[in-house]
Symmetry: C2
Subunit: 360 residues, 2 copies
């Protein structure tokens, strides 16, 4: 075998466009249209004055950030795990919690969902099975409950709200899945929960097998800082840390610990910003409806919409001509849809205007 034949070859992921042009309305990667909490800038200034500190390895437990999150969510510090974005946290969760999977007892997740689940499963050689969404894009809890579906599993993961549909699974349904899996770990990926959906965090008091994962990338306007976290019972978090520290002791860097902490502490900014985005989303949905668009009732910071008169790819291209970038997934079952991130009111007004022109 030559050295080149020995290399692992994969299909690289193509992320949403990060345009360099000015004047673009960028609604393709679910970023927040508002700047981070004011404390973030202050924390960066403090770090500048303290730049000498960078020569040392940072606190690998990211203690100040963990403390701020524990206070924010009313849980113990030992219930929190932080990582370099929720992708980092989730990938580690796959490795830690789903490695027992087999063909007979696979990991379960929806067939239309976050596109990295199957990637991580393949990376760690975790057999998985995808469960079809219902016609209306909703998750059927029955599919994930062994006693009802006859399908045993090594674990369950789903985003709530789901991506890229934006649909929320109601709390009682989420609880049914957790309760119905006393022998498996259920991960609720709440990357998009902060815009009006309900978190599963209160269920932690009742269920040891639940892990909730969230991120600072969307609702805290810090995609560029890479901060994600998991909350669960102490035992799960300890196992997760053991695996993490076994192969890489230091990942979240000092700047992220500092600015993440500043952000986590600012509840007022957080409520105001996520509230604004949710209000803009509702206005935008009303406009879309008027224009004849069809879409699941998103509770996230994006809307997943199609129009009977256009293909998704066509509509995406026509918006791009008007300097508006949205996301299109060329996948079975969803290729007619566009995922449109919620920007500011002014940005969404321009989108509506552009759509009116296109439909005229």
């Amino acid at each position: 075998m030559s050295w080149e034949e020995k290399i692992l070859k994969v299909e690289p992921y193509v992320a949403g466009e990060q345009p360099k042009e000015k004047d673009i309305i960028k609604l393709n990667t679910n970023e927040c249209p508002y700047p981070p909490a004011p404390g973030v800038e202050a924390a960066i200034r403090e770090l500048a004055a303290d730049a000498d500190r960078l020569r040392l390895y940072q606190d690998m437990d990211a203690t100040p950030l963990v403390q701020a999150l524990a206070a924010q969510y009313g849980v113990g510090e030992e219930q929190i795990f932080v990582g370099v974005g929720s992708d980092d946290v989730l990938a580690l969760c796959f490795l830690t919690f789903f490695s027992s999977a087999s063909k007979e007892q696979p990991l379960l997740f929806p067939d239309i969902t976050y596109s990295f689940y199957d990637v991580w499963a393949n990376l760690y050689r975790i057999p998985f099975k995808t469960m079809p969404l219902k016609e209306d894009f909703s998750i059927d809890p029955v599919d994930y409950i062994p006693s009802l579906s006859g399908q045993s599993n090594a674990g369950v993961i789903f985003p709530n709200p789901n991506a890229p549909t934006g649909l929320e699974l109601a709390p009682p349904e989420v609880e049914r899945i957790i309760e119905g899996n006393p022998d498996s770990i259920v991960i609720v990926d709440e990357a998009y929960v902060d815009f009006g959906a309900q978190t599963a965090l209160p269920l932690l008091k009742k269920y040891e097998n639940l892990l909730v994962v969230q991120t600072f990338s969307k609702s805290r306007a810090m995609a560029g800082a890479r901060v994600g976290f998991a909350i669960g019972n102490e035992k799960l978090i300890r196992y997760l840390k053991d695996v993490k520290f076994s192969f890489n002791s230091y990942t979240m860097n000092l700047p992220s610990i500092r600015i993440g902490t500043a952000s986590a502490k600012d509840t007022a900014w957080f409520k105001e910003t996520t509230g604004k985005i949710a209000a803009t989303r509702e206005r935008f949905k009303a406009e879309l409806r008027r224009l004849g668009f069809l879409f699941p009732d998103s509770k996230s910071n994006f809307v997943f919409a199609k129009h009977p008169a256009f293909t998704g790819a066509d509509l995406q291209a026509r918006l791009r001509e008007r300097k508006i970038i949205v996301r299109h997934f060329n996948k079975p079952g969803i290729s007619d849809y566009l995922r449109i991130t919620i920007g500011t009111d002014a940005q969404m007004d321009r989108v509506v205007e552009a759509l009116r022109e296109i439909l005229a």
Copy 2:
């Protein structure tokens, strides 16, 4: 199987102590005793003024940093891969380049070496074989050359200088290993190369199967920023990026890209700082010799030393009583040794003084 039985359980790694006391001389994790390049502080101030930018995903190619490194090392931009510390880069290299390993064709590395190699190999289920160092702790190139040793391999990795010995393998010997493995990728892990050892980078012009990995943690005084990189031919770097982007598109955050770039550009600071540390190391070695210590001739920013009159653990404890923290590895073949990071001249004078007291 209960949910707890389904979890992957590992032995957590115990990193060097990060003390909270004041007045400690911390020589246990090979950090730089001097602050980062002055441009780093300036870059943080600029980031504060530009904190709004954190709401967006950063440039996943870390372009400015890659450009600065390409200029620094006289290679093409497409020859560079950057990651969240060299641990992140190395782990990804294991996955990308060594996944073809089998019991008959294992990955090869020294038996006394960086402690994460076997961890990553196990993580990715890569069969490996460790080759014993010679009596004097040096690497024998013959062990790694299939035509000489009869041992075929799926790849070779070794640190140069080696850790925790600090010993450099001379450039012609490094070249012998690369040349003797035309069908395998050879990774030279140069975390400690900048303190007087010679880099394998010039060999990139002759050998396609060579990859060099370096870090900002030691010689650039930025352990807390998590910046590492690999340099190799375009093909290797492309394969590495494909694997990386297949499962996590964004890892190096915006602050690290900004401050890494500022640091990479400052050649004068870099030369001065690494030169100072190398000079302090030579002074310290002379003192150790006078005190009766035995040690391989380190070319790194630490010295790996033992004293005939003490066990390693005992000497470590006695230094700790004197507020000096050094590293001790309780492993076969090296448990008599201490790994002592090179600090400032003043710090090393205090270490010598403490050792004199202990030996008196």
